[in-house]
Amino acid sequence: MRLVRHLVRTPEGAIGLAILAALVLVALFAPVLSPGDPLRIAGRALLPPFADPAFPLGTDRLGRDVLAGILHGTRTSLAVGLAAALAAIAIGLCVGLTAGFAGGLVDEGLMRVVDAFQIVPSFLLALAFVSVIGASVPVVVLAIALGAWADPARLTRAQVLSIRERDYVASARVIGMHPAEIALREILPNALPPVLALSAIIVAAAILTEAALSFLGLGDPNVVTWGSMIAEGRNILRSSPSLSIFPGIALVVTVVGVYLFSEGLTKALAGRRLEP
C-alpha cells in the first residue's frame, strides 16, 4: 500500500512501526514465549534480575516470574489500548458524522455533550466509572473510551463541515446523487485520514490510562498488567527497584512506539496529500 511506503520512509514511522510490530509479536506469542499462568508462583521470591537463567528478570515478592509478567502484560496493555481507542473512534465518528450532517439542534445538542466530556478530566471519569461498576477488562475499556471519544467526535464534525462545502460535493448534488451516497462516498472517505492519525495518540493515552488504573488497583485483578506490577514493586522500591523499573520501561517503550508511529502516520498522510 502507498501509505505504508510513505510511512516507513519517515524515520519516526519506521521506528514506531518496528516497535509496534515487535510488541504485537510478543503479545501474540506470549503463551509460547512463557507458557503457563504468569500469575502463578514460579520460584523463590525476590530473585534479583540476571542471576538465574530460568528467571532472567528475577521474581517478585510472591515468587512470580517478572519476565512472564511483562510478556503477558503486553497483551493486556495492547488489547485494552486498542479496544479502548477503537471504541472511542467508533463513538466519536458516529457522533461527529451525525452532528456534521444533521446540523441545527441535533448538532447543538451533541456538541454540548462533547463539551461536557471534554471538560471533565478523562482520567477522573475513568476512575469514577470503574469504581462504581467494578474492575474487569470490558469495563476498563469502556471507561477509557468514555474519556477519549470527544476529540475524534469534534475533529470528525469539523472535517464534515469543511468537506461539505467543497465544490465536489456541490458537483455530486448537481448530478443528482442521493444524500446518503454523498455522505458515504464523497464525504466520509475524505474526512477519515486526520481522524485515523488521531487514533494513534488515543491508543497511547489509553495504554497509559489503563496502566494508571491498574496501578491504583482498579484494573482487572485476574490479568497481569504493567500498572499492577509497578504498584506491586512500589512497596519494596528501595530494596528491589527492578520490580518497578522493568514494567516501567515496557510501558515507556510502548507509548513512545505508538507516538512515533502516529507522527510518521501524520507525515505520511500529509505527504500523500501533497502529491500531484
Binding site: 456541490a170 475524505n190 500531484p276
Partner: protein
Amino acid sequence: MTLLAIKNLSKRFSSGGRRVAAVDDVSLTLEPGETLGLVGASGSGKSTLARILMRLLPADAGSIRFEDEDWLALSGADLRRRRARMQMVFQDVLGAFNPRATVASVLDDPLRIHAIVPKAERPKEIAALLDRVGLPASYADRSIREVSGGQRQRIAIARAIATKPSLIVLDEAVSALDVSIRGKILELLVELQEERGISYLFVSHDLAVLRAVSHRIAVMDAGRLTETGPMRQVIENPQSPAAMALIHAVPRLVTEPTEGPYRDV
C-alpha cells in the same frame, strides 16, 4: 418556448451582523440554444445567482420556471431526477472533483444515477464522452489528479453533457485556465451548443470571454441586474455605469472587430 425564466429572485446573507443583498430582485430569461453571459464585478452576486439556480442554495424570494416547471418547488427524488436537465461546470478545476475519483468514475456517476445507458454499455458511453470532448479513451483509467487543468475542465464538460441537459451553468468555467487552453475550451462549448442546442448561462467577470460566446449579456452590480441586451449592443453602447466600468476595464474590447473569434452573432 422560453427555457428558463427567473422572476424577482432575491437572496440575502447576514454574516457578522452585516446584511448583504447578494441577489436583489433579479429577473431574466433564457431561450433554448442561447448563451446568456452574466458579467459583474467581484461580489456582485453572480455565483450566488448560479448556485440558487442549481438548487445548491435556497432563495429568499422569487420564482424560477425551467422547462415549464416550477423549478423551486421540486424536492427530494423529483428534484434529483430533474437535475439531469440542468448541469453545471465549476471554476476550480481541482476542487470540483473528489480527490479519490478516477476519470471513469467521474463520468460513470451521472450515467449510473440517471440510467442514461444500460450498465454494460457504460464503458462505451464513457469512451464516447471522452472522445466528444477531445480526450483519448485511455484516460478513463487515470486518477483525476493525474490529468492537467485543461483536461480536467474537458472532463467536467463531459460530465455535464452526460445526462443530455438543456441548460449548463458555467461559473467562471475558463477563468482558471491558460489563455491558449481557454480558447480551445470555448470552441468546444460553442460546438456542443450548435450540435445539441444546449443553452448556457455563462458567468464571468471577463467580458472578452463573454464576447466570444454570448448571444446576450446581462450585467450585475451589487446584487441587481443593471442591464440586459444583445451582446454587441451592451458592449458598444452600454447604458448602465456598471457596464461602462466593466467595458473600460478591457481597453481593446470595443476597437477590436466585434465578431467573436468563434462565431458570428
